[in-house]
Amino acid sequence: MKQDLIAILPQLVVLATAMAVLCFEMLGRPRGGLITLATGMLAATALGIAWMGRETTAFSGTFRVDTLSHWAILILCPSAILVALLARSEVGGRPREGTLYSLLVFSTLGSAILAGAGDLMFLVLGVLLNGLSGFALAAHPKDDPSSEGAMKYFIYGSVTGAIMTFGLAYWVGMTGTTYLSALAGPMEPLPYALGFIALLAGLGYAASLFPFHFWTPDTFEGAPVSVAAFLSVTPKIGAIFALAQVTTQLPDAFRQVSLLLLALVAAASMTFGNVVALWQDKLVRLLAYSTVAQSGYFLLGPIAIGHSPLALPTLVVFGIAYAAMNLGAFAIVLAHGRTIDALHGLGRRHPWAAAALTVFLLSLVGIPPLAGFAGKFLLFGAALDAGFGWLAVIAILNSAISLAVYLRIIHPVYFKPPSGPKRDIAMPLRVTWATCLFLTLAAGLGMQWMIAAAR
């Protein structure tokens, strides 16, 4: 018991932070909540670093303390801080500001739980915690678009969650336990298939993978930009890591066909996300579709895990890269406008912000030596190594399409006349994107540290 608690101390710190932030909100001190959030998350991160290298399980094997769960903490907690800074500049001063912070941390906790799930119940609970906080976050402004987005998010989330629970019941019935590690046991094809498809639905929705992504653009557009940024990063990383936890345990008899299904989903997500993004004029929607595509790339990691020594580092590196560049892009969007038109001539007005935006977008494409390149480079390597060369080819063609998508933003930023005057940008925003910029630039050089730590 005691060892269990020590092993999951980072996650516990996250929980405590969420509660402490909530307490500050009760006292009507959102700023204190923000500071608490930052402190708590930094503490969790520090613990995550200190705990690095421990490989154990907690609570009789239901929660895995391993590379993925450590790195989930290391990625998600700093992201939560950055998102909180964004939120501060967006909804600061409005009612229930502190609640937003608290929900951010709760959702982060959900993702952290997902990332270490060694048990089906943790999968269900992680998706639930993640989702519930997410619904509330999306509905935070209480206006028409946000409630619509939240409603769609809720419908997709709860339906896929229910389906996932239903399907997982078959796995439980087959194995008699809820351990993921028991999957390798005797298994009939039909219950297995039902369970796997259901699982894919549940986690695929959180990761906004192709057939389950329909909530993404609407929710992102309705929600505050900071929340959209959060929703594009945290649930996704949790869900993909959880998928990785599952795919390492797939029974051999169905492994190939399951991975093939995942691969098809990945290919569809990438293609759909990128192609649809080509026609978007609202930046948030564009980024929403691009996150669908990015999840498709991300899915290469879980597919390759167990077949390639590169897969685990890949998940970590791409996770970091994705968080940094996506949050950065959203931060710029928040600062400078939610449509492409609003960004016209940004290079003239705010050269540094424009340069940062360019870096984030090129990083999303995967241009070296930026973070996105580091991630994709390893992802493609892992996919090739695992024998999914065709998927890597599709991913590559999609990278090219995504270039066209992002150039639609980059081009007017530099080559169109300015659409508005220079504006003062709040300090927290600048801090956020500067941090993201640093991470995006440094990830290529710092890859070694991450890979070494992830092994």
Binding site: V124, S147, I155, S158, T165, F166, V172, G173, T177, T178
Partner: protein, 101 residues
């Protein structure tokens, strides 16, 4: 036999729930479909516990977890429905057309 009967009923429940979810436009009705699906999941679990793995505590626990999921999703769902109702005056998902593109 009992197992298959229970699984069959659960499957039917699931089917009804899924049909409800897909065919209804009112948020509250959709939530009812969701509850049916979760109910089917619980029935499945209980049946598996009763007929296949009578000594598994994990399955019982899972049933409790599913109940929690049900309740909390209902709670948040109603909260969203209330808010939607206040801002828009309707909880029909068909009428949600402000956001598209």
């Amino acid at each position: 036999m009992g197992l298959y009967l229970a699984l069959g009923i659960a499957a039917v429940l699931f089917g009804i729930g899924l049909y409800g979810v897909l065919s209804q436009t009112n948020l509250v009705m959709i939530m009812m479909g969701i509850e049916l699906i979760l109910g089917a999941a619980m029935l499945n679990l209980v049946a598996f516990w009763r007929f296949l793995h009578p000594d598994s505590y994990a399955i019982q626990m899972f049933v409790l977890v599913v109940m929690t999921v049900m309740a909390l999703e209902a709670a948040v769902g109603f909260a969203i429905a209330t808010q939607r109702f206040r801002s828009k005056g309707s909880v029909e998902s068909e009428e949600t057309s402000d956001l598209k593109g």
